[in-house]
Symmetry: D2
Subunit: 424 residues, 4 copies
């Protein structure tokens, strides 16, 4: 299924008057609006191939109808998103769940939807059918060099897949760790992981980045070998210039100040990218912006400030991706909500009066600093984000249009109700 430009145009037309009224009002409130809209247009958030089906917990999964059965259908799904929001122009593949059989065909299919391939993701947290060694006790950290080598080889394969697709980054998320005191020698687990990553790093093309993700717990429940930003940064520094830390918003201990971490990683030139989602308790993998929208804004506030301080291109300087699990919502609508929330937080960060903020900071004007940030956050910028989409041919309201068009029913007619998409 493809959403036609005409359908979007028709939808927009019927909502244009309302949009224009809102946009004109907010436009009168913001200086530099054109520059902001251009930045929003350029800002693309990659969609992970594993998040197009219904997600689950260890207690079960309640799959929905019309899920994508193949990589082609997953690309079709992302195509639908991108047609509507013009901000999801990249797909991030998970190997081995989504190995293209014919790379060129897949590339041209993606291209037909205006999509490129973002970071490729390796998987050494599960055993695959026919695998020689098990990852039950870890992969890159494993006490047995043969297991480590198998995991290294898998990552090298993933890089190769990525090269043929035009990806420019490898994301390594490791479940490696331990669930009981005594199980691991922490130091050796770290050293093994480092050496394994060094082996993989050798195979990284010179124009690639390696993203080293961290997570405090789950699926291991006592220690995780790359558990926090400090451990990831340590590894990234030892690996070299192409290695970076990747921040997933759900991977922190309770109450962690993520925005400060982001700021320091940017300072150290070691922030690589983001996995967006939201959470209340742990790695809940909820829709971005659904739980703590102010925190999302504060993170973008640091991102914009930190990237500008280094003269980075907002759109290209870092890797932007969603990593969420859609247990209850239609995955595609969930993703549309996430992208919208991310764009909104980005827009809010862009309208922060940086000069005034700097002045408030320099005079320890705590009240003033809060007023300046909240002035940006309280502004209703949804029409600005909508305008950016409109100019690119996207829908004024992707979520509403998706639901009005009843996209899922059409997909279900095409695909049936019994598919369970690969993924978590």
């Amino acid at each position: 299924m493809k959403i036609q430009q005409e359908q979007i145009r028709a939808y927009n037309e019927s909502h244009l008057v309302t949009h224009k009224r809102k946009f004109d009002f907010i436009a009168s409130e913001i200086s530099d609006l054109e520059a902001i809209i251009q930045k929003l247009q350029a800002f693309q958030i990659a969609i992970p191939s594993w998040a197009l089906g219904t997600g689950g917990t260890r207690f079960g999964r309640f799959s929905g109808p019309g899920e994508p059965a193949t990589l082609e259908q997953k690309i079709e799904d992302v195509g639908l998103l991108h047609a509507l929001n013009k901000s999801s122009g990249a797909i991030s593949l998970h190997i081995p769940w989504d190995i293209p059989k014919d790379t060129e065909t897949i590339k041209s299919l993606a291209s037909s939807y205006g999509l490129v391939f973002d970071a490729v993701n390796s998987n050494t947290f599960q055993d695959q059918e026919g695998q020689t060694h098990s990852y039950k006790y870890g992969s890159l950290q494993h006490v047995n060099p043969a297991v480590r080598q198998q995991a290294i080889n898998h990552n090298i394969d993933v890089i190769k897949q990525g090269v043929s697709l035009g990806s420019k980054a490898l994301t390594v998320w490791l479940a490696d760790g331990s669930s009981f005191p005594g199980q691991l020698n922490f130091r050796e687990a770290f050293q093994n992981t480092l050496q394994s990553l060094q082996e993989i790093y050798k195979h990284l093309p010179t124009d690639w980045k390696m993203f080293v993700e961290y997570k405090c717990f789950e699926p291991n429940f006592y220690s995780t070998t790359i558990a926090d930003w400090g451990q990831s940064l340590l590894l990234a520094n030892k690996l070299g210039d192409q290695a970076y830390t990747l921040v997933d918003l759900g991977h922190h201990l309770p109450n962690a100040n993520i925005e400060q971490i982001v700021s320091l990683l940017l300072m150290e030139k070691k922030l690589g990218g983001f996995h967006f989602n939201d959470s209340k308790y742990a790695d809940d993998d909820l829709t971005a912006g659904s739980m703590k929208p102010y925190q999302l804004f504060l993170i973008f506030n640091e991102l914009v400030e930190g990237m500008d301080a280094r003269g980075m291109d907002h759109a290209k300087g870092l890797g932007w991706m969603i990593d969420a699990s859609h247990n209850l919502k239609d995955p595609l609508v969930d993703l549309l909500q996430s992208v919208e929330a991310i764009q909104l937080a980005y827009a809010q960060a862009l309208v922060v009066d940086r000069q005034a903020l700097r002045k408030a900071q320099n005079s320890n004007d705590v009240v003033g600093a809060q007023e300046i940030l909240q002035e940006a956050f309280r502004k209703d910028l949804r029409a600005v984000v909508a305008e950016a989409r409109l100019r690119d041919g996207g829908s004024l309201n992707p979520v509403a249009q998706f639901r009005e068009m009843d996209v899922r029913s059409k997909l279900t007619l095409e695909r049936g109700t019994n598919i369970k998409a690969t993924g978590l």
Copy 2:
């Protein structure tokens, strides 16, 4: 010092055009706006007498200039707030920090500022000069009946003070608990507390409420005898119809769903009132809405829904109070920011499309429910709250006007720089 109506009128005049533009825009977006504005006008948030000076931590306190030295000056302070925001028309006294010497004089002073006396607060978490028994090991829970009786008597005294001032509620917050395993018999501590509260309850005038506050930890670090809403509710139920649970936003374990607690307490007819503040880590006592404004909105969303379901008067049905600590900001500006954030969250809750929400819930439309809530939250309702103030003769922007008028400097000229207000 008193802010003259004329000063406010002058300030508003110079910002009226901008306000009108914003208000007209948002007015066109909201149905039932007049009813909402009336509710906002009626909604008063009490100011605690102990929060008018600089707050501190166990590591120290950095007092500011012009702090109030007397109860009269504290009332003057609240008068300043109320003149600006018309939403702080009540003061909540803490005994023994703020015992009026002459009740009638104090009442008429308060009255001259348009203030009434909200709940009175007892203090059995500190020892006062000359006190017979120490509260080092608890007060109403104490193993020694004589200590309990002393604490009971103090609470009865506080009620008497409150009666003479026109208060209608007693707030009991107990630090009682233990810092080490074994220190307490939990059951006996609970029973002693219950019996002590029953003694106090006997002295409650029939038109009074007793608010039983809970807190998970601090100043005790192992157990608190009224640690969570369940324990408070248990006590309130055993005490009788006039006893209620009081919710302080900073008194919960990490990640607690406070809005659900609020909803259930309302259902049980046992929610008594609120201590507003915000926090990231523990009982941080920060400005309301400064850290998690979406959570504040979600709480008000439950409050409005739950009060409406029971036909309660929003303004009178529950006790609304700020309980924050102003370690870095000017206390008065901090309070103005808090009141503004609370009013804003209340306004957002009032504009939620309840019929649509109910429909979404009844059809398990999770996406729709989120869209409906965020539609209310994303709207910029600041002009609505400002309009409510404007109609009551308050300032369009209390924080800005307070700063422009340099109120603190004037207070400092009057009061000097070396006063440390009583409180925490």
Copy 3:
């Protein structure tokens, strides 16, 4: 496979000298030792039928060899445990994972291993093949009465199964809740749940108990409808005398004081039973005593004190069960370790000098109270627990003997390597 009494006797014989030396030493340190040993002998911890296979997380499962394929094999597994430790003389079935085809055969099989049937557990957190309504959006809380009725009927069926097996309790754990703000009306979800439970309660035989379990989060990530002990207690009180709260150690927010909760539930006569496990981060479902053994002791300290205060029979007064997930360890060894840790904590609680503790508490002797508790905890009581087993014909060291006998290899020979036991 069955472990012969002779094998255990032989094992014990070869370790008897060492045991006797240790036992004699510790026996000289403890008064009332015989009474303690008798209590340990009487204390049985039920094994859940779903915990006999390898557990998993949402990221995957690494199954082990020799897992039980049938209910018969699960009973065989528990029989092995009980032969070794003489403390696992009960099995708790999960319906529909473990529906007996022929109740009488199953009962006599269990009986042949010395096992009885503990509480039966319903499952409305997953959809079963062919089920009319889905539990995706809840079961007993569901907005649709037909879904609620289906879940009610399932619970009534489970009671029937239990009656035929000789069980005396129904454990209801609900995943019901919501993952996004707005999804649920908290009040109605609670009321629906209450009414559904009331329907089930009507079918409870008069000598049965209903255990209402609570959990703060997972698999729902915003709210859980029975989220904490306060909500469970509210329901249990509204349901009637046969309804009780069940405490699972992993179901609390970070830092919760579980021992205080236990004490208060006992005081309210509403503590029903326990699901033992351990955790560091969330509902990690680790081996009991593997992470926080002192906390486990403190909980037992409250249990013993509270049960004695009410004159309850330790062994029969409450329901004792393990609820853990064995992701990395052999499930049977994991369970042996858990039972050992629970017995040890119970033994430590039994040797607490209660009179001295009471005296310390009554004089606010905080130092003394800590010394008394730690005196009990620091004592090495493993030989006491071993002696209790020895007298019952169990193994001096179940974990070691299980491993020495290579039980798992034998089970694998019998059962093969490709079975995945039903469960989580």
Copy 4:
């Protein structure tokens, strides 16, 4: 007051039979016992000068009788501890609370009690009378270079004091941070802190260490500029070889795996030392080992393993210090309990069968690894620690003897009841 050797000898004599029975039993269970006892004898834990008085919270302080009024009396207090436990042979001074008037006199006084001077501690988290600039908005991070310079100068002064006393390390704990979003530019706060530390570092004698402490929150409630081990390590690496990270057990986010952090810092050669205490909720500053004794053991398990791997001297390689707050207990008894718990955890770590553990780890024997650790933890090693003290002339039971001798009453007679010792 001084405890005479004779008093200790008399106490020990009356408990010797019991001790010998216990010691002989445990001695028969442990190989290499003599080496372990020697390590315990060599292991000294410094006492902070600020922890000799009653501690408090922001809600108040309940001082006790006989508190030390002067540095001399504080040294006397530590002398009492050391006389009893022979493990508290060092005192850590806090400047400016404890500036010696006459260094030589103070040194010889300390020496008369067998005490040396451990790390000196600077204080830029409070304003001192007459100070030019306030630390309200930070010290080493401050936006104003003059404030930073004042704080730098203070640290240089503290080093000078330390040099004259024979200290060999400076501990820098900074409260610097922010309480509200926007208040700080995180990057600049970090850079200012780094530059300030670099200035101080220049004045560090070549045989000194600088300990950079971290803390997640309090007294700031949004961000702390040195908030976690990653930030501390970043600074220590940029500063140079003499800079190290200092770990305070209470300074972590909920559920942090402190033992893993310790292991990695040792690996990086950047672990400097420890502040021991225990906690349940936050920086509760409770008696070491009173809440999570197993965690304390696991930390020592990593310390012993990591120090041995690098061939470090356990006693001298790192800085060992208590940092607790004694709100309810007599400070001196609290400190005796802490030292005992630390020694016990150290002893447990020393008896871990490292070869077996390594073997279990290398074969992913998770069950075995747990058994090995718990074997060490479950052993009752109190008699071993007592024996180490006995051989050094200390008391078999310092806590009991302190209480029996009624030391506090004697101190109160000497000092009176109205002293409030300087400190928190």
